[in-house]
Amino acid sequence: MIRLVLWRLAQLPLVLLAVYTLTFVLAWLIPGSPLEKSEGRRPPVEVQAAMESRYNLDDPWTFYWSYLDQATGVAWIAGDRDGPVFNFGPSLRHENWSVNEILAGQLPVSMTVGLAAIALAIVLGVIAGVIGGLRPGTHLDLVTHTLSVIGVSIPAFVVGTVLLLAGGVWTGLFPVGGWGSFSHIVLPATALSLPFAAYIARLTRTGVIDTMQSDHVRTARAKGLPDRTVVLRHVLPNALLPVVSYLGPATAAAMTGSFVIEKVFAIPGLGMHFVDAVLGKDLTMIMGVVLVYATLLVLMNLLVDVLYAWLDPRVRTARGT
């Protein structure tokens, strides 16, 4: 287990370098300059040129290395202690903010919504899956199944707008968009959770049906254990293993921010602003977000692997821990 963790951590710098290089090439190819405004007045040519040279926008090679130097903390270790350890520089489009500040402000928001959505999705999905899986083919199964298909298929902006109308404008139960209190989380987390909940429901249902037919469940029932104990102690732990392995990528996907959800609910998260950064060719912002996301993804996957090993008795005993 420890070997696995160390091995993954050793890979991290290589993964990041590859991601950084690829993203840099693609981002550099975006036409235009982040310093120019698409419409309206332009600063004098000399001013523009001076700004470009200040941010190394006239030389991809210098930009690539100096940014890498600052962002990875090498510059800090080497003695340039003006900025933070991992210095992603100023945002080129939003000159009043450093990318570090933006990440510090936005990432927790995206993470909160994402985690809340996943928590909700687990509860909804597992309940629906168990109901369907225990009574396959009944009306109840059909209902949960239909609901999960709907959950996957309706686009987020429709769900979001309907939730805002119903929960915000008509009933006044929840605020219409924005951020800052627990009630702000409810609607976006619900909207974001639906597709995940639907998928978890289907995984759970299949898992429950399979496990119900397995030998150890038949034995448990033959012993005369009540249904509730059989399901909780013997069926669910096995049936939910596929759900756990799905949770890794799902949590990462939910946490890195949904462009549509963030936009519809006016949540100051990273997903939307990352898209804007790409459209505006905000190089420092693009590179900073990509590096942080990549790190986060690698760590999330690692966490899920550890969790999985700990949950699954077969994996545990096989490793002899």
Binding site: P43, V47, I122, L165, G168, E262
Partner: protein, 605 residues
């Protein structure tokens, strides 16, 4: 089973931690949703309406507008005198004006802020606003040359150069004398504009707290450069690198009705009444919250639920429906207002396109013909549907006191046909296609628009259909993302391209300068000696009425003969607020809303 619950518990735990970490902004007296996000609160760096709106709340310039008719009044300056030749303006500053840290606001503050605007180091979009001041352009050029030189210049040389070159003198703490190169009758109007708002030097440069500036910073010796937190000197170029970090709540100092108390990136900005402001009163909103809604439909829902008091812009999807409801009398909270801007399509006046193709629009008669073949009223009635006033002129009507724009070209298909024929584009072989004398068919017109809004696509499609019908010319729509669009438009890589221009100051030059041969925003490539001469004649006119008449003539030359652009209509802004709850909202086309002039009404029964 417990093991299974643990991931879920972990999730909930992280959620709680993340949530406790957050710090919600308290409610405010006046909440508005800005249709565009705020980029900067540094006046000299401002170039967007959303930024300037807050700028006017946070800072006070020498003059201010009466927002009902856009006449001028004193603000930081209580009065001013003008010499008979219009070249020397003397502003008398209020002696009781204070910065929010209790320092006095002096003529030195204004002078230093304008110097900051002029320095190429600041990279301000609006440096050229000050070029009419005697010596200002020379100073800008001097500094640009210095920065371009091989050896890094001495930053302290700026002081001497500015003192000797620029005719901007603080005669005493409260008197500022401005000498101009040539008369600028609209100077008072221009001085109210956001980039000319004064800033507090010790704050902007980040002077150490140990320096006592309570008699004004000009009475003390500035700290050495390395002691100033927010300005660095680039060792390679000698450029002053100014950090924007002073414009934050914890370091904030300003002289306007409000001070900044919260600012979170793309989330919210909160202002609180500035107790040091000379005009402080209890009637204005004591706190203002600006919320950011990236999706205009959500902003509309937030308005509907009462969370937002004022929507500065309304989602394009809903404008027409809301205005219909207003016309039917079922709602009174939506307001359509003609703005200080013009929607237009630009003709490429260059002889050839960058790819070598001939450009039929190089001939002014062709441009006139296309303008005459456009039924603007039909576009407004059936395509944009906001009842915009159609226009043949570039400068919006009734927006500048004393100025009457020319009529421009109307809708006249016969004349359009005659002009195209005159220009040599005739259907020579009766195949329904116009050819020139060499038998080359009229090329398909590239009609560029930005895909950012359906409005422009629909307008472009209407033009294509109208030109096909009335001139028999084919056009193809080229929709582009704004980055590509901007690059192509600047490079002249188009035949016709959409555009929108908002005026900055209360004078027709704010529109007409764009078409001068030497202007950096002249994307049409027009080089018109006749128009340049007409503008020059207005430049040197001394009598204000005569000058305005000359500008009308210049715009007539532009819009009826040269026609580098086809104006469609005045921009209409749609905003929402409940007139029963708030008073003091401006309806003038310049659309400057001073936040401290908003008056919340007592809630009725």
């Amino acid at each position: 089973m417990i093991r299974l619950l643990i991931p879920l518990l972990l999730l909930v735990l992280v959620l709680i931690v993340l949530h406790e970490f957050d710090d919600p902004a308290p409610p405010a007296d006046f909440v508005f949703a800005s249709e565009n996000e705020v980029f900067t609160l540094d006046p000299q760096r401002m170039s967007w309406l959303a930024d300037m709106r807050l700028g006017y709340g946070l800072f006070e310039g020498l003059t201010a507008w009466n927002t009902n008719d856009f006449s001028m009044r004193g603000a930081l300056a209580s009065s001013w005198d003008t010499s008979d030749d219009g070249l020397v303006w003397t502003f008398h500053l209020r002696p009781d004006a204070r910065w929010s840290n209790d320092d006095p606001v002096t003529a030195h503050d204004v002078r230093w802020s304008w110097r900051r605007l002029l320095l190429p180091d600041t990279a301000a979009d609006y440096s050229n606003l000050l070029f009419p001041v005697k010596g200002a352009k020379a100073f800008w050029q001097w500094r640009s040359d210095q920065l371009a030189g091989a050896t890094p210049p001495d930053p302290d040389a700026i002081d001497d150069a500015f003192d000797t070159m620029v005719a901007l003198v603080a005669q005493d703490d409260h008197t500022l004398r401005i000498e101009l190169e040539r008369p600028v009758p609209w100077l008072a109007d221009q001085l109210a504009f956001a980039p000319l708002l004064p800033v507090h030097r010790p704050t902007v440069e980040g002077w150490p707290d140990s320096i006592d500036t309570s008699d004004g910073w000009h009475t003390v010796e500035p700290p050495p450069w390395p002691d100033r937190d927010f300005v660095n000197i680039d060792p390679d170029t000698g450029r002053l690198e100014q950090s924007p970090l002073w414009a934050r709540p914890d370091t904030w100092v300003s002289n306007g009705p409000y001070v900044l108390t919260h600012w979170r990136y793309r989330r919210d900005i909160r202002l609180a009444a500035n107790p040091e402001y000379h005009g402080a009163n209890g009637d204005m909103p004591q706190s203002v919250l600006v919320r950011s809604y990236p999706d205009p439909n959500t902003a509309l829902l937030a308005f509907a639920s009462g969370e937002v008091d004022w929507l500065t812009g309304v989602s394009a999807d809903c404008r027409t429906d809301l205005l219909t409801e207003r016309a039917q009398g079922t709602r009174d909270d939506v307001h359509a207002r003609p703005a200080f801007g013009t929607d237009y399509f630009l003709f490429n006046c260059r002889p050839t396109l960058p790819d070598g193709r001939i450009n039929p629009f190089a001939d002014p008669r062709v441009r006139q013909a296309f303008a005459l073949a456009t039924d603007k009223q039909a576009i407004v009635d059936h395509v944009t549907r906001l009842a915009e006033p159609v226009t043949g002129a570039f400068t919006p009507a009734e927006s500048i006191p004393g100025y009457t724009p020319p009529a421009g070209l109307g809708y006249d298909v016969e004349q359009a046909d005659a002009l195209l024929t005159q220009a040599g584009w005739i259907d020579r072989d009766a195949d329904g296609v116009r050819e020139d004398a060499d038998g080359r068919p009229f090329p398909t017109v590239d009609l560029l628009y930005t895909t950012s809004s359906a409005r422009f696509r629909r307008m472009a499609a209407a033009l294509r259909d109208q030109w096909k019908r009335s001139l028999g010319v084919d056009a193809q729509l080229v929709g582009q993302d704004s980055k590509f669009f901007g690059a192509d438009r600047r490079a002249g890589n188009f035949m016709v391209a959409r555009g929108r221009w908002y005026g900055d100051w209360g004078d027709p030059t704010t529109f007409l300068n764009m078409c001068r041969s030497t202007n950096g925003n002249n994307d049409s490539g027009l080089r018109s000696d006749q128009f340049d001469a007409a503008m020059h004649a207005a430049d040197i006119a001394t009598d204000p009425a005569d000058r305005m008449a000359k500008l009308t003539l210049a715009e007539q030359v532009l819009m009826e003969h040269e026609v580098p652009l086809l104006p469609i209509c005045q921009v209409v802004e749609v905003t929402m607020f409940d007139p029963g709850r708030f008073d003091g909202m401006t309806a003038h086309p310049r659309l400057v809303q001073y936040l401290h002039e908003v008056r919340p009404r007592e809630e009725g029964p």
